[in-house]
């Protein structure tokens, strides 16, 4: 193993690019078991800035119907964390944008936190989003291991998160903060309301040290553009899953979708 410290790709990205950053989530092992790395390559080639690879889980409580369904399909395809690492083994030969693994804590615990982190480092993962890992727990038990393997832990904030807690989260975050756009599970609402705009402005005016990406309910160019006015960019999940679900040709349909979001055609 090389001992050269490479700057984390997420931090690098946010240093170089300050706006309209597009992060795209999809579920590993979906729609077909071995689509994972191909989808990642197409995402990069189409102009996505960050890839979030979902680790499927039997009980995804923070997710709405679309991502629940993709988790179920992937599990029926017999995806596992072990297999995901296998699929990502050579990913850094073809993909050099930041990769984040997103999933629930239980599969990580069963894999073994230490093993999980070293495997992430080995395949070239840059960050983790584990929605049901609480901040205090992270600080007490996980922070050190994550850091030792160069993994940034991304925290969520919501419209209900108090200002004091947002500041606390900001202090303990690296990379970026995941701003959940409304009080909802993934994919639930469409369009951006005036109360959401108030919330976006409120957080923007806090001048956090970390950049913010807005996620949940971002589905098209319009919502991406709107979110990008208040944050460094946005995250698309369910809408992309819906594209994958129907795609006959992954390459062309991923490209069409991503470019429609970014306004390139």
């Amino acid at each position: 193993m090389s001992t050269i410290i490479i700057k984390n790709r997420i931090e690098q990205l946010f240093e170089e690019k300050k706006e309209r950053i597009l992060s795209v989530y999809f579920t590993a092992g979906f729609p077909d078991l071995n689509d994972t790395s191909e989808i990642m390559r197409h995402l990069q080639d189409s102009g996505a800035d960050i890839i979030e690879v979902g680790i499927p889980y039997s009980d995804p409580v923070a997710d709405g119907p679309t991502i629940q369904e993709s988790n179920k399909v992937a599990l029926d395809n017999e995806i596992s964390l072990k297999l995901i690492f296998e699929q990502l083994k050579n990913i850094r030969k073809s993909v050099d944008i930041p990769i984040i693994l997103m999933g629930y804590i239980n599969p990580v615990l069963q894999y073994g936190v230490e093993d999980f982190c070293s495997k992430c480092a080995e395949v070239g993962v840059d960050g983790l989003i584990l929605p049901d890992l609480p901040m205090q727990e992270y600080m007490d038990e996980y922070q050190e291991v994550f850091k030792a393997h160069g993994l940034l832990n991304i925290f969520l904030i919501t419209p209900q998160t108090s200002e004091a807690r947002i500041n606390e989260i900001d202090q303990n975050s690296m990379g970026f903060i995941y701003m959940v756009s409304s009080s909802s599970t993934t994919g639930a609402k469409s369009g951006i309301s005036s109360s959401q705009v108030d919330y976006f402005n409120r957080v923007k005016s806090m001048n956090l040290k970390n950049p913010v990406l807005i996620g949940f309910g971002i589905s098209d160019k319009e919502s991406f553009d709107q979110a990008s006015e208040y944050a460094a960019g946005a995250i698309i999940g369910s809408a992309f899953i819906n594209v994958l679900k129907k795609a006959e040709n992954l390459q062309t349909e991923i490209k069409t979708f991503i470019q429609s979001i970014k306004g390139i055609n």
Partner: protein, 393 residues
């Protein structure tokens, strides 16, 4: 060793609050307020009054003469089956709805498996005039029709959980998702000592009235507060937690927990979490959990819908881990036979959950003078269909 939740929400290695940030404000609001609210004089007065005049407490501690002769010990039944709505579940729903009202909540959600907790929640919502939505797995809706209609008669909306395996664990997922989507005006009444801290401790406190009564009732009957054994079934573990609560630190009292073994622990169709589970995280707490090597939650099986849950409350994971409680498992067959036995010996048709606790008596060795308190958590009315299908009586 004192068995109590620590300030981080753990019982030993188990517990905590593994929740997404979307649930944090609600759970934190509860955590900050639950102890002060349930400690208020006015709360205690209202809670005690409703338990007495509405639920029908104290429930009897009944000396079961013929059952005692059969098992050669002095067996007392704590008659939670005589609670209004037919099970211990209502002790908790009364407590939680009073708490929710003091937090200014106007809407109530709940999950249910067999429908007992759903009925107990719909009941207190009718009593207090609050809106009530109960999530129930589609599979359970089909097999627990009478309880579904009871909830509807009481004015609750029963929403089918159509995700995953469509049973209790999925109903719980749906209730949590509902809470994420409705964070301000809604309180989630969890039905057992499961979920993120402070739920396990809060529910145990509301159920602790069971052991509080056992103490003085046994003193009257036997001249001592302390039985040699307390036996209870464990689904999530709320009736057991309530029956153990005031004895947790009293080593003279043996705590016996009974899990459902379905068709047998080696059959692949069981719900005996301490036998088949490993530490993991489900529904907000770290506990023992039935799961695959890859950390996917396994669907359990038991004839009893109330015990058909892949985890147990963190307090029970700790009681198991520390050796404070002994765990037994009882199959469908053993439970059904025990249910018939109690019906014939004592004229009491038990809930099939409670019948599991009864069946464990047959696996235990008693001395003649041993005093055993068995928590009869519910009555068998809801299970008539299952008894009829089983047929051997």
């Amino acid at each position: 060793m004192k068995v109590a939740v620590d300030n981080r929400g753990y019982y030993g290695k188990f517990g905590g609050a593994y929740i997404p940030e979307m649930l944090y404000p609600n759970v934190e609001e509860l955590r900050q307020n639950y102890l002060s609210i349930i400690g208020e004089e006015s709360f205690k007065k209202e809670f005690d009054h409703l338990l007495k005049t509405y639920v029908g407490r104290p429930t009897p501690l009944y000396f079961a003469q013929r059952l005692s002769e059969k098992f050669k010990a002095k067996i007392y039944l704590k008659r939670e089956d005589l609670c209004h709505t037919g099970a211990h579940k209502v002790n908790n729903t009364i407590g939680q709805i009073l708490l929710a009202m003091r937090l200014g909540k106007q809407k109530i959600i709940a999950e249910t498996g067999a429908g007992q907790h759903g009925v107990a929640t719909a009941t207190v919502c009718a009593l207090m005039g609050l809106e009530c939505i109960v999530y129930m797995g589609e599979v359970d809706i089909a097999r627990q029709k009478p309880n579904v209609e009871r909830m509807r008669i009481l004015g609750a909306e029963v929403r089918p959980a159509k995700s995953g395996s469509k049973t209790l664990k999925d109903a719980t997922n749906e209730a949590m998702r509902h809470w994420i989507n409705n964070p301000v005006d809604t309180h989630y009444i969890i039905g057992s000592v499961v979920g993120p801290h402070p739920y396990p401790d809060m529910v145990a406190r509301f159920q602790s009235v069971i052991s509080q009564e056992i103490k003085w009732q046994l003193k009257e009957a036997e001249g001592t507060e302390n039985p040699d054994y307390i036996v209870a079934c464990v689904g999530g573990g709320s009736n057991a937690a309530g029956a153990y609560y005031h004895y947790l630190d009293n080593k003279d009292v043996n705590l016996i927990a009974v899990e459902a073994a379905g068709l047998g622990n080696n059959s692949g169709e069981s719900a005996a979490t301490t036998v088949l589970g490993r530490p993991g995280v489900l529904h907000g707490s770290k506990t023992l959990l039935m799961q695959t090597d890859d950390g996917q939650v396994v669907e359990p099986y038991s004839i009893s819908a109330g015990l058909d849950y892949p985890g147990i409350g963190p307090i029970h994971a700790h009681l198991f881990d520390s050796g404070r409680a002994q765990f037994y498992s009882v199959t469908d067959e053993e439970a059904m036979k025990a249910g018939i036995l109690l019906s014939r010996l004592e004229g009491i048709i038990p809930a099939i959950e409670s019948a599991h606790a009864l069946a464990a008596l047959g696996q235990m060795d008693f001395s003649k003078d041993d005093v055993v308190v068995l928590n009869l958590s519910g009555r068998g009315d809801k299970d008539l269909e299952t008894y009829i299908k089983w047929g051997r009586y």
